[in-house]
Amino acid sequence: MKRFFLILILIISNNIFSILEIEIIKGSDNLSKIAFVPFAVNEGLELSQGENLAKLIESNMLLFGEFENLDKAEMLAFPSLEEDFFYRDWKIQGVDFSVIGKINSVNILGNLNISYTLFNINRRIKVLEGEIIGSENNIDGIAKIISNRIYEKITGLKGIFDTKLAYVINSDSDTYQMCISDIDGKNERILFTSKSPIMSPDWSPDRKKIAYVSFENGIAEIFIQDLKTGERDSIQALGMTNSAPVWSPNGKSLALVVSFSGNPDIFLYSIASKSLSRLTNHYAIDTEPSWSPDSKKIIFTSDRSGSPQLYEINTSSKRQKRLTRDGTYNARGRYFPDGKSIFFVHGNNGNFQIATKKLSSRFIQTLTSTSLDESPTISPNGNVIIYATKKGSKGYLGGITLNGKSRFSLPVKNGSVREPAWSPLVNK
């Protein structure tokens, strides 16, 4: 019996272990301290359920190195109701915000009613109060919703704890895997495994599909995979190289690159009619398209000036404009969610780093300090960038928050991880 129990634990914990795990390298410049008080529970529930929920919220909030926590052992009190909450207990510990709450069992089916409150200790006011009903089987999901609300209240930015990441893993045995996981690395799913390279994953705006490039048939082909059914469809673009697919904001078309006869240009592909229409026509390399949030423009890389630089094209007037001039390598640009700035890979003295630039200014700001950084992707709230980089011969993911300049990494246990793609927010 004891042995059986042990095996059971191993099976369960195997599922919990994730391939990617975020490690904070450097916290934000001005870390706020938050106390996550274990939630109280009513009769019929375990004390550990309340502790677990507070822990889950805490690990979400600490995920990107933007906050620090007050250790449970240092807490002077464990209030769960507003009337038992005293600001001085937290002020004395240097706490900026406190989260308290209570879990009430609603019925025997495992439905829970969870109330939570957020206090701003410095201003001595209650800043957020909420209630949520959910199943005890979905305690992770409940914790994410509460974390999002707390994060929004404290930072003024949309919470991103229920977003996902797509990425490609290249294991040592030369196997390529298209994977997705929760943004904290949990619940990893392998969508597709191949002996040939996989590239350029991109989420559909409804988060139901992923487009990517696979070499499984000997050349670069674009596939769309449905996440629910697992079904894969190849886009019959029929060029010698078909690459860099990106979904339009309305999900009805893809911008992609087709090289019919050795000249890669940007095309629009309509999902409904399965037809291609040409966007750029230049003998230079045109590639790496990405849509502006209002879908009126597409940014792309072209070496028409002699080195890779960023351009944008108006999708209706087809007017083009050069966006970067400083440096000999500016490529794979993406717009910020507000459409006012771009981020991209900037080559400088043999180093390739992630950089940003306001569209209204010429000034390029470098964000990273390693030398082989690429494939940056931004959180839907515009505050966190995850990118691929390399240490030794292993590829791993690095991250940076733009507000607080915290840094973190997402190492992978086996093989190399590359080409992160951040999912959109869930459609409400």
Partner: protein, 154 residues
């Protein structure tokens, strides 16, 4: 053939290959496509020559040494059914741009072969960008080895 004849032939081939770059559909079938890669099922022909030509960073031009190697290939290529040119890049810079760059390197080799009288129809061009490096370490020596076009005959 008179030297002038060879010259005219070479010029014609140049014009021919330029024309292919202008029109998208005319030459389409002579390039790699999903349907056209069945020859990969068979074994590549061993010719005992170095099967790679190398390039400078972000460049796709052939130097004298590369051209000499390709010249040695010509008799074997003439006998082969298919010549597959696989373009590759080093890891620096972005992946999708490198995919395009690898293609351009392979095309540079293709154009040289066409000028030398090889039929465009039997040349298959494919790029793997930076996805299939020979050396995985990040230094100038590995990068130089990874920036290549691999030639295989079927």
């Amino acid at each position: 053939m008179e030297p002038i004849g060879i010259f005219i032939l070479a010029m014609l081939c140049q014009v021919y290959s330029c024309a292919a770059n202008v029109s998208d559909s005319v030459e389409q079938m002579s390039y790699a496509s999903v349907a056209g890669e069945e020859y990969l099922q068979g074994d590549a022909v061993e010719v005992g020559l170095d099967d790679k030509v190398y390039f400078d960073f972000d460049k796709a031009s052939l130097d004298a040494e590369d051209k000499m190697l390709l010249e040695q290939y010509l008799p074997f290529i003439k006998k082969a059914k298919v010549v597959r040119l696989e373009g590759h890049c080093d890891e620096r810079g972005t992946r999708e741009y490198n995919l395009a760059l690898g293609e351009r390197r392979a095309l540079e080799v293709r154009d040289f072969l066409i000028v030398k009288g090889i039929k465009g129809k039997k040349i298959r061009v494919v790029s793997f960008g930076e996805e299939k490096p020979i050396k995985n370490s990040s230094n100038e020596m590995s990068w130089a080895e990874n920036r290549r076009v691999e030639i295989s005959l079927y």
